[in-house]
């Protein structure tokens, strides 16, 4: 395992949300308390309203990545460079535009979800 793992969801139900940028899945509370391990610049732990903006409860499938760098699945999903943790396979919504701008400012890559 490469880096320290992200928080692991404490429940498996409706409370789960996925970060719209890195697709990390945690509960709302976890995002509130610790933010997103991959996207600290969102500063969710400081600005709780932002959690709703940059995370979504609408996601599809969960992948627990134990070893992102050596996992083919993680690479395929382009989460191979993120911290080990639970991610989702796909989110439907894009980041709000201002958040996309924030990504640009932070010089962080953001890829829009593929429209099906």
């Amino acid at each position: 395992m490469g880096s320290a793992p992200a928080q692991i969801p404490t429940s498996f139900g409706h409370e789960l949300r996925a970060c719209l940028r890195c697709r990390l899945v945690k509960t709302y509370d976890q995002f509130r308390d610790a933010g997103c391990e991959n996207c600290p610049f969102f500063k969710m732990e400081e600005d709780h309203e932002r959690i709703v903006e940059v995370t979504t409860p609408n996601f599809n499938g969960i992948i627990s990545v134990m070893d992102p760098s050596r996992s083919w699945a993680a690479r395929w999903l382009r989460i191979g460079k993120f911290a080990p943790g639970c991610y989702t396979l796909a989110v439907a919504e894009p980041l709000p535009e201002e958040m996309q701008l924030l990504c640009q400012e932070e010089r962080v890559q953001y890829v829009l979800p593929k429209r099906m």
Binding site: M1, G61, S64, V65, D67, A73, W76, K81, R107, V111
Partner: protein, 995 residues
């Protein structure tokens, strides 16, 4: 966080262990890295994209490293695509970078920053090359994704069974377990898909790793087999469509759970954050029960019973002393009546539900549902505003250029026009109205399709999908359509239909079941399909007393009853399919029509004048009488074949103008000598045939039929003529001996258009040609002509095996055998010299019928067919009608010679004499003696694959070809001249002798 701090600590311990481990390993890969890579590269240099191959080199460290470079590709490839190799080869300087890249692993956060730094650089570079860097990134990803396709060296995905509903939990727990226990386990990832229950995927190099990891996990069935996902399917596992169901207001949805399950509801509000929607639906509330409940009186709970949907009537509720509060919703500001914590407005129940408990895709509310949904107190008519909500469910491409439309909203309301162009957002329409710009842009949702009474339309969606009919009434945008199939009125939305010139019977086939099929249902009752639509199959049950129609799903049908039986009418006349019968008692008394299906003594007939049940009537056979009216005379002729196949005496039929045909058949069947007067008695058609007696004291005897009586026939045995029961005989050479088999073929008749009275003459003509050929091929006796099976049996195996048992029963024959009843006519043309073509109905031979092609194929022997191929250069064709039937024989082809009392011999035709008989040289190369054989004594040898053949009929008559094989009932040949591949009836192919 608090609860995780422990974990974190744990982890850092674990982590340090791990780091040690890694440190041990690290130098190893640092040392080997370069060389290892070189090795990898040297192998893959030729392989084009080095990166890909390199990744698949042996050491997993290198895999790792390659992955990194891969990751770099992600970012750097944009400007360095061309340098890909260079990038791969000149890795050594980059090595430092990479080390830098890895070392910070010890500080994950830093790594992330590094990551970002990296990205930053790339972005800079990107912006140098392209302005629209977002676009570039996207592009890059598309291409790059291909490079990430799994290879054999990548970890594999294993499918592991787990408890239903615990898929996510298992994935998360495994994650926790691996975090807690550190590098003990070697699984890479765990995938839980939302749409796949009962299974999770685990990514690991080996099955053993998976087993180790899942050992002791609570919700995993560790004993179940672990399945490996094939490499090709790995990406499928991960490519879940992000199902973006855009729930929006006014959309129609269906409830999935509870007492409202299946009910239509309309979305009022969507809360995307909480994943909840407010829907409006017609409440199913029993006020009395509610009142009892509120007053604390317990009532017997009947869970199975859902109250019918009914609008909430507040006054009624008050009467029952139910407390109704007038309340304002805090979020929307709307006023609602609140009863027992349920919100009502205008009688509708407003309910907050989870998005998961509603189905929003492909919901097409039916007309009735929408009608029910309109507020009862509002004006009786459904107005457009109400229904325009329906359009929320419109599919894309709803409107097409040329559609007539009407504007239903706004200033231009009721303006009619035609669609000129469909754009993304709006639609350009052209109207006749003066003073308006043409074309005019209108929003799609303001438009509705427009039809006028008299239009022929086809239903394209909804429960009546596939039906066609004529618009008889237009009520705003509800149409009343007279269905072609059912002759019933359908109320349907203009939105669901398109103009169509097609006049079909609507859906006539669903799966294996076709309209008018006789089917057995799962409750063992049977019936005839009288209507098919996308949702249900309507069946007229085989209950004779009273018409009973039931709606079933396709899966409730056990199977199609193919076996045809006969029945006897009240006066013991045999009724077969296609016979016209009249019902003389019971519910359907007085009705009459042709029988379409017979099963267990129950007749299903079709009365065109009967509008009920698509014209179908079901009656007991004993309540019917066979009709011998002249209007059915033509039918009879056709029937007679089947009847004849059954060896049943045809019910007395008054002579009809067309009767001669039967006579013809009779005469031509008469072996050679059957030159009788046209218009002979119908029974004559049996005369002259060779039969075998099946029953009675003469069982097993064979002989020629000399006379046919009402119930019996006279058969000339070897020595004497005896009298036996009609049913007690069978065709001597025929393979079919049991009546049921005959039944089978007889009843095929209805399926065949050519048998309809309209084309009565076609039948004999076609067969006359067909039979001799086939007969020749299979049966020694030429006068077997009437054997219904002969002419069309295309499947080679079957003709070769003369096993009687396989004949009638083989289902393969069914489609073909439908042609046969006509067969009896075979040869008649030859035997009736005095007959002029026109009398025979030659023109009709051209009549459009599915049979025509086959009749063409038999041309050489068909007198009626001959005029159609005037140019056919068959030199042997004789002007004499008598012989031209046999002109297909040409020198050089291989035949079997059957002489009475001798074994059949193979030989080559050397010459064909003017009287049609041939000089045949015995032996497959014609090396033996020459014998004379009459046409009847020779039959064609069917070619095998790659044999050279001569085409003896049809357009290509006389051409040589190579036989490629059989395709169903068709033979495939390649013409020697043009090398074209042609499809021919096998009967047209004559094997050529080896030269």
């Amino acid at each position: 966080m608090s609860q995780y701090s422990d974990d974190d600590d744990d982890y850092s311990d674990d982590g340090s262990e791990m780091e040690e481990e890694e440190e041990e390993e690290e130098p190893e890969w640092n040392d080997k890295g370069g060389s290892g890579k070189k090795r990898g590269r040297s192998k893959s240099d030729s392989g084009g994209r080095g990166g890909r191959k390199k990744k698949s080199s042996e050491s997993k460290y290198i895999v790792w490293e390659a992955e990194v470079s891969d990751a770099e590709d992600d970012d750097e490839d944009v400007d360095e695509e061309d340098d890909f190799f260079v990038n791969g080869e000149t890795d050594l300087p980059a090595e430092d970078d990479q080390r830098q890249y890895y070392q910070p692993r010890f500080n994950p956060l830093q790594e992330v920053e590094e990551d970002f730094d990296n990205l930053e650089k790339i972005k800079e570079r990107l912006s140098r090359y392209a302005k629209d860097d977002d676009y570039e990134l996207e592009e890059l990803n598309e291409v790059d994704q291909q490079a990430l396709l799994p290879s054999v060296r990548d970890p594999k995905l294993w499918m592991v069974k787990c408890v239903i509903g615990r898929e996510r939990e298992v994935a998360v727990c495994l994650m926790q377990k691996i975090i807690d226990r550190g590098s003990e386990f070697k699984i890479r990832s765990v995938i839980a898909l939302d749409h796949l229950q009962n299974y999770i995927y685990i990514e690991a190099d080996m099955e053993a790793h998976v087993k180790e990891a899942i050992k002791g996990m609570r919700n995993i069935y560790a004993n179940n087999k672990i399945l490996l996902v094939p490499i090709k399917e790995m990406t499928d596992v991960l490519s879940v469509g992000s199902k973006a169901i855009d729930l929006s207001r006014d959309m129609w949805v269906r409830m999935k759970l509870g007492i409202y399950k299946g009910d239509l509801a309309q979305v009022v509000d969507v809360d995307n954050v909480r994943r909840r929607v407010t829907v409006k639906l017609i409440p199913r509330i029993d006020l009395q029960v509610l009142a009892n409940k509120l007053e604390g009186r317990e009532t017997v709970k009947k869970k199975a019973f859902a109250p019918p949907p009914r609008f909430m009537n507040v006054d009624e509720a008050r009467e029952l002393h139910i407390r109704v509060e007038h309340r304002r919703d805090q979020t929307t500001g709307d006023y609602f009546e609140s009863i027992d914590n349920m919100l009502f407005k205008n009688g509708f129940l407003y309910k907050k539900v989870s998005t998961k408990s509603i189905a929003a895709q492909n919901i097409t509310p039916t007309f009735d549902e929408l009608e029910r949904f309109k507020r009862p107190s509002e004006n009786g008519e459904i107005d457009f505003d109400d229904l325009s909500t329906l359009f929320a469910n419109r599919k894309k491409g709803h409107f097409m250029k040329g559609d007539a439309v009407i504007v239903i909203r706004g200033d231009l309301k009721n303006m009619k026009g035609w669609i000129e162009k469909v754009n993304e957002e709006n639609v350009l329409i052209r109207s006749n109205m003066k003073g308006l710009p043409n074309p005019l842009a209108v929003y799609e949702r303001d438009l509705c399709k427009y039809f006028e009474p008299g239009n022929f339309v086809k239903v394209v969606s909804g429960s009546h999908e596939g039906a066609t009919g004529m618009v008889v009434k237009v009520d705003q945008h509800v149409l009343i359509v007279l269905s072609d199939t059912t002759k019933e009125h359908i109320r349907i939305f203009a939105d669901h239909v398109v103009k169509s010139t097609e006049v079909t019977n609507g859906v006539t086939k669903i799966g294996d079941y076709e309209l008018h099929d006789l089917v057995l249902l799962s409750d063992l009752s049977f019936g005839v399909i009288i209507k098919l639509d996308s949702e249900a199959i309507q069946i007229l049950k085989g209950v004779p007393d009273k018409p009973k129609v039931s709606f079933v799903k396709a899966r409730e049908i056990k199977y199609k009853i193919e076996k045809r039986t006969n029945a006897q009418d009240r006066y013991k006349n045999v009724i077969t399919v296609k016979d016209v019968v009249r019902v003389i008692e019971g519910y359907s008394k007085g009705k009459q029509g042709p029988v379409l299906q017979i099963h267990k003594g129950v007749l299903f007939m079709h009365d065109r004048h009967n509008l009920e049940h698509a014209g179908f009537i079901c009656a007991k056979c004993s309540s019917c009488v066979l009709v011998g009216g002249s209007n059915s005379g033509a039918n009879r002729i056709v029937d007679s074949f089947s009847r004849f196949g059954n060896f049943k005496t045809p019910a007395p039929v008054p002579p009809s103008p067309r009767r001669f045909q039967r006579g013809d058949m009779g005469s031509n069947i008469g072996s050679g000598a059957g030159r009788r007067q046209w218009g002979g008695r119908g029974n004559d058609l049996l005369v002259g045939t060779y039969v075998k007696i099946r029953l009675g004291p003469f069982k097993g005897y064979m002989g020629r039929l000399v006379e046919v009586k009402e119930k019996s026939v006279r058969v000339e045995l070897e020595a004497k003529i005896v009298t036996v029961d009609r049913n007690a005989i069978s065709d001597m050479t025929d393979n079919v001996t049991t009546p049921s088999q005959y039944n089978n073929m007889g009843s095929q008749t209805p399926m065949h258009p050519s048998r309809t009275p309209l084309h009565p003459c076609m039948t004999p003509m076609r067969d006359s040609g067909a039979t001799p050929i086939h007969d020749g091929m299979r049966t020694p006796m030429r006068n077997r002509a009437w054997n219904p099976y002969t002419p069309m049996t295309p499947s080679r195996d079957n003709w070769e095996n003369g096993n009687p048992g396989s004949w009638g029963t083989s289902s393969q024959y069914q489609p073909e055998s439908s042609y046969d009843p006509a067969t009896p006519g075979s040869g008649w043309a030859n035997s009736t010299p005095g007959r002029s073509y026109s009398d025979v109905g030659t023109p009709i031979a051209n009549a459009p019928s599915p049979m025509t092609p086959s009749s063409v194929s038999y041309l050489p022997t068909t007198p009626g067919g001959q005029p159609m191929t005037p140019g056919a250069d068959l030199d042997l064709m004789s002007p004499d009608i008598d012989e031209e039937g046999e002109t297909w024989l040409t020198p050089g082809i291989l035949v079997n010679v059957h002489k009475t009392g001798e074994d059949s011999k193979e030989g080559v035709i050397r010459d064909v004499l003017s009287d049609g008989s041939c000089v045949v040289a015995v032996g497959d190369r014609g090396e033996g003696d020459t014998v004379m054989a009459t046409q009847r004594e020779v039959r064609l040898v069917f070619p095998r694959k790659n044999d050279h053949v001569k085409i003896v009929g049809g357009k290509y008559r006389g051409s040589r070809a190579t036989f490629i094989g059989l395709d169903g009932s068709d033979g495939l040949v390649r013409l020697d001249d043009s090398l074209e591949i042609k499809i021919m009836k096998p009967a047209m192919l004559a094997k050529l002798a080896h030269e």
